[in-house]
Every structure is written in C-alpha cells, then in structure tokens.
C-alpha cells in the first residue's frame, strides 16, 4: 500500500513538473510580447521566440528624417527600472544613453553598469531593439531592449 502511494506521489511529481513547464511556455513571463520579440533572439534562446516577431513596422528608425532625441518608457524588469534616451539623426541611431536606472540592490546595479555599455553597442550595431541578451543579465537586457523599442515607436508616431 505504501509502495502504491509512493508511485502516486512520483507520478504526481512528474505531472506537476510537466504542468509548470508547459504553463511556462504557454504563458511565459509577464514581460510584454514586444520585448520578448526584441530580446528573444539570444544564442541558446528558444527558436520559437525568434520566429514570432509580431512587429509589422520596420524595426529600426529608417525613414525618419531630421535630428531627434527621444526617451523610451521606464521599464521595470524585476530587479530594477531602466529607461534609455536615443538620439536619431536622419534615420540612424547615433547614440543610446541611460535616462534612468534604478536597481533593487547593489549587485543588480553592478550588473547593470557592466552590461549597459555592451547593450548600447549592440543597439548601435543592430540599429534596432533586436539585440541578444547578455548572459547573466537576461532581465536587464530585456528591460533595456524594451525601452529602446518604445523610444523608436514614439519616434515613429510623433
């Protein structure tokens, strides 16, 4: 009888394990879809993410004339908040700066400061928010990319 109960518990454990993984793939994190499409193409990231890029507009600032400075949305990424300020000159991103950075703890601050210059370089290179996340700083990268995307969106609308 005890052995039967053990088998039930094991079976239930497998079901619980699978259920959470399935739910995770279906629901995903609370990070908005637009952000995931931006940051999902990281090496080792699930390929399904890269295939579903919902943005129908051109990802970069191509076609925007004149010189603009635009600030992205303040994006909470769990360990802190980040917002970027983009300078766009005749359809090219010429600089990406941090407009706001607030972290929950000093370790996250340390990480953010280490990776933000790398993320800025990636944005400049990609000329869009489609950047790969930096290993060890996935959430920071996602938050950063989301703010970049929101700045580009604002630029096109306005």
């Amino acid at each position: 009888m005890t052995r039967l109960k053990g088998a039930f518990a094991t079976l239930a454990a497998v079901v619980g394990f699978a259920a959470v993984l399935v739910a995770h793939t279906l629901i995903g994190s609370s990070v908005p879809a637009s952000l995931r499409s931006a940051a999902g193409n990281r090496p080792g990231g699930s390929p399904s993410n890269s295939s579903k890029t919902p943005t129908t507009t051109v990802p970069g600032p191509a076609g925007v004339t004149g010189n603009h400075i635009v600030t992205g949305k303040v994006t909470g990424y769990g360990y802190g908040e980040v917002a970027v300020r983009l300078q766009v000159d005749n359809g090219r991103i010429v600089s990406v700066k941090v407009a706001k950075l607030l972290t929950a703890d000093s370790y996250s601050q340390q990480i953010a400061q280490q990776v933000i210059p790398m993320l800025a370089r990636e944005v400049m290179a990609a000329q869009s928010a489609r950047i790969s996340a930096i290993s060890g700083a996935t959430y920071t990268s996602e938050g950063y990319a989301y703010s970049v995307q929101s700045a580009l969106d604002a630029l096109k609308k306005g």
Binding site: M1, K5, F8, A9, T10, L11, A12, A13, V14, V15, G16, F17, A18, A19, V20, L21, H24, I27, S29, S30, V31, R42, P43, G44, G45, Y77, G78, Y79, A104, D105, S106, Y107, Q110, I111, A133, S135, G136, T138, Y139
Partner: protein, 464 residues
C-alpha cells in the same frame, strides 16, 4: 467528590436520575483515507512544480555565464528545500482530519524522516548561491556575504532566518536532542516558524522564478499564507477556543496504584466534545512551573459530563508533578488527537495488547467497542500494585463478553511472545497495541512476523 466515578457500573440506564453521570456519546469524526491519497498526490504535484519552477528561470546563456551553474543549483535547491519545509510544517499542523486518519505518531515519524532533506537542500542553496554570486561579481565569498547583507533587499533577515534554521537543525539531531529537556527543545524548535517567516521576503523579491512572474509569486505566497493560516487555526486557535469553551479545572486526584494517579477534571459542555476512546490531549496545567509545557496523556475514560479523566504514571518530572496538583487548577487542552480509535477497525473482533500504563488507551477504547468485538485484552504490568484501573478493565471486558489476561510480572517471566501468544486467531482480529515504545515496537514486530495484515495493527506509543 466521592460521587465522581468512571466505572461501568454507573450505567446510564440505572442512573437516569443523575444525568451528570451519563457517558458523553459524541465520538470524534471518522478518519478519511481519501484525504491521505489526495495529500500524497498534492505533495507530488507540488514537488514537481517546485523543481520545474527553477528550470523556468534558466536559460542556456545564463548557465554559461560566470557563476551560472552554481546559481542554478542554488535556486533549484532553494525551491525544493523550501517546498519540503512547507510540507514538514503541514505534517505537524494538527489538521484534524489528517490527525484522525494518520495518527500523530505517524505524522511525526514522517516529519522526522523528511527533516534531513529540506535542511540539507537549504544549506546547499545558501552555499551555492553565495559562490555563484561571488563568481558573477568576480569577488570573494566573504565579500559577497557582506554585499548580501548590506545591499540585497530581504537578505539580512533571510540570513538571520538561516542562522536559526541551522541552530535548530543541529539541536534536533538525535544525539544532541536527547541531552536537552523535552520542553527546552520544544521551545527552541518553534524557532523554525520564525526562520521560515524571515526567509519568505527574499524568496519572492530576489528569486529569479518569481521576479517578473506575478503568477508564480501569487501561488507561492498563497501556499505559504495558507500554511501559516492552518498552523494558526489548528495549533493555536482551536486549542484556545476549546480550552476557553470547556473551562476545565482539576477537581480530584485519585491514586490508582503504585505511582499511578488519575486526574479528574470538571468542565462545561463536555457532552459536545468530539472524542473517541484511545485518543489523547496535550494537557497544559495552568500552574506556576507547569503552564509553559504541554504533555500528551491519554484520556482514560470517555467523558462523563461534567467530568473528564486522565490517568498518569509518574515517570518524568511532569507526570510526577501531576500527583501534586491542587484542585481548582485550570487546564488548557490541545486535541483530542490520535487514530487509536474504534474507527480504525477492519474486523469484527478485536484484541488489545497493553504494556503497563498503556492500559489507559485500551481502557477508554473498550468503551467504544461493540459487543460483537469480543475483545481479548492482554495486559503486561510489572506488578499487581501497578495494575491501575484493573477493576474497570475487568468489568468492561466481561460486559463485552471478552477475556482479560493480566500478566503481572517481569519481562523475563512474560516475554512478548507470550503476550502475543495469548491472542487466539490473530488473523481475524484488529490488534490494538499500546504502551512504552519498546513494548509497542516489539509486539508490532511479532505481529507482522506472524503475518498479521498492516491494516489490522493499530498502535499508540507512550513517550516517556
């Protein structure tokens, strides 16, 4: 007080004019084996889900980063360890239906068996995450520890909680624990509640499976809140309510034999107290020097409203102190607990095997057994003088058409084989075994060896 009596001679039918002497009829509700099956499945689901939760926060890239592997192991062990700790807390949370079904000694056995797992997993969690964060920040372990305390939200209190956990865990190791007084250890052990309360904040604020995942955060928080609620309701609320409701106080102390005393209590509404023969309460005698410790003693008869009785053998400080109680002492109770009841029967007939003071559970159980059970009672006791309640047991057994074997003498004179040997047709009876640990484990071992089905063996161990 001479009118208080718990003997069978005071049958309700014969003393209709004195309703105060009638036996309370309200039995504890029956056990629910289905609840156990459900709990087992929920346990498995939760464990699988906790492990999976650690995986959801992981990426291949994260694993490759400095400290990534250590951090992953740290998160995994933290989630699994904390989940198992939650299960351990639930095992001793005194949920009535679980207590009735599995019995408290069964639950405590599982609690003890499980204990090394959450402790070692949580220790691993602390070690691996410190190493992992130190690797990620390219710093030393000691420096990382000070960073945790100074700048991570919720980490200072979590580390304090971890300290408590380690201290309590070390004191709970058997070789250390047996050097401590039971009450001292019990008080220290309550520190575990504090430890897990302190740890909670850092789990949901920093845990990568919870950050940015409001759903998992909500589920995890709800599970812990529910556990805290269950503990508060059943370990504190219900006992306080019952104690205030019944207002028990000591009315008489009656010597029953060598070193054996019956404590007779008077209380209100005892007719409405759901209790079965063979169950016990944790008793707290509200008197200087005793109020802070609760001890388990079996009820030695069904309540005779307004009276309730426990019978105790002086073997330790607490049980010896009971003989010196003064009438009027207020008594608080937790319970009744225990699965050693007539509900557990699988067969028509029964046999009760009692060692020494273990007779008290058998004595109150006899009141709940039907006539067709024809109980054979084998009672081994060191001497006739210690055979407390012998007259009551004899009357009850003869009323049920059963047979009593009172074996007064040494263990050599009456070895356990002889005790078991006195029960005819073992296979067709329920076997209720009560007494000191050595007696119970010895008899149960013999019964199993004789091929008695596990479901037919019911035991109650008297901790000394």
């Amino acid at each position: 007080m001479a009118s208080v009596t718990f003997e069978r001679a005071n049958d309700t039918s014969r003393r209709r004019g004195q309703p105060r002497q009638a036996t309370a009829k309200r039995l504890s509700r029956p056990p629910r084996p289905g609840v156990v099956d459900l709990a087992v499945v929920l346990f498995g689901l939760g464990l699988g889900a906790s492990v999976a939760l650690a995986l959801t926060a992981e990426t291949a890239a994260g694993m490759k980063a400095p400290g990534g592997v250590a951090m992953f192991i740290g998160n995994l062990t933290g989630l699994a360890g904390t989940y198992l700790a939650l299960v351990m807390i639930l095992l001793v949370s005194r949920i009535p239906v679980v207590e009735r079904t599995l019995g408290q000694d069964g639950l405590l056995a599982w609690h003890r068996r499980l204990a090394p797992w959450p402790i070692s997993l949580i220790v691993a969690h602390a070690v691996f995450l410190t190493i992992g964060y130190a690797q990620a920040a390219h710093t030393g372990v000691m420096h990382e520890l000070s960073t945790f305390i100074s700048s991570f939200p919720g980490m200072a209190i979590a580390i304090a909680g971890f300290g408590i956990l380690v201290v309590v865990a070390v004191l709970s190791i058997y070789s250390v624990r047996r050097r401590l007084r039971r009450e001292t250890w019990w008080a220290i052990h309550l520190g575990m509640y504090l430890a897990f309360a302190l740890a909670f904040a850092h789990e949901v604020v920093l845990g990568p499976s919870f950050v940015n995942h409001p759903l998992t955060q909500a589920v995890w928080s709800a599970a812990w809140a529910a556990t805290a609620g269950v503990v508060l309701v059943y370990r504190f609320g219900l006992p306080i309510y019952r104690s205030l409701h019944h207002r028990l106080r000591v009315v008489e102390l009656r010597p029953e034999g060598e070193g054996v005393t019956s404590v007779i209590l008077e209380g209100r509404h005892l007719d409405r107290l759901p209790i079965s023969g063979g169950q016990f309460f944790e008793w707290r005698f509200l008197k200087r020097g005793l109020w802070w410790q609760a001890h388990p003693y079996t009820v030695s008869a069904r309540p005779r409203p307004p009276y309730l009785r426990l019978t105790v053998k002086a073997v330790g400080d607490h049980s010896a102190a009971l003989a010196r109680l003064e009438p009027g002492t207020r008594v608080a109770v937790e319970g009744p607990y225990g699965a050693f009841t007539a509900h557990a029967r699988r067969h028509q007939r029964a046999a009760l095997l009692a060692g020494g003071i273990g007779i008290t559970a058998a004595r109150s159980l006899l009141e709940d057994l039907p006539k067709r059970s024809q109980p054979v009672v084998v009672w081994r006791v060191a001497s006739e003088a210690e055979a407390a309640l012998a007259e009551e047991v004899r009357q009850l057994v003869s009323h049920l058409g059963g047979k009593l074997h009172l074996l007064a003498g040494s263990r050599e004179e009456f070895p356990l084989e002889k005790v078991v040997g006195l029960v005819p047709d073992l296979a067709t009876r329920d076997l209720y075994v009560s007494g000191p640990e050595g007696f119970v484990s010895g008899v149960v071992g013999l019964l199993r060896h004789s091929g008695v089905a596990e479901e037919a063996i019911h035991s109650e161990v008297y901790a000394l």
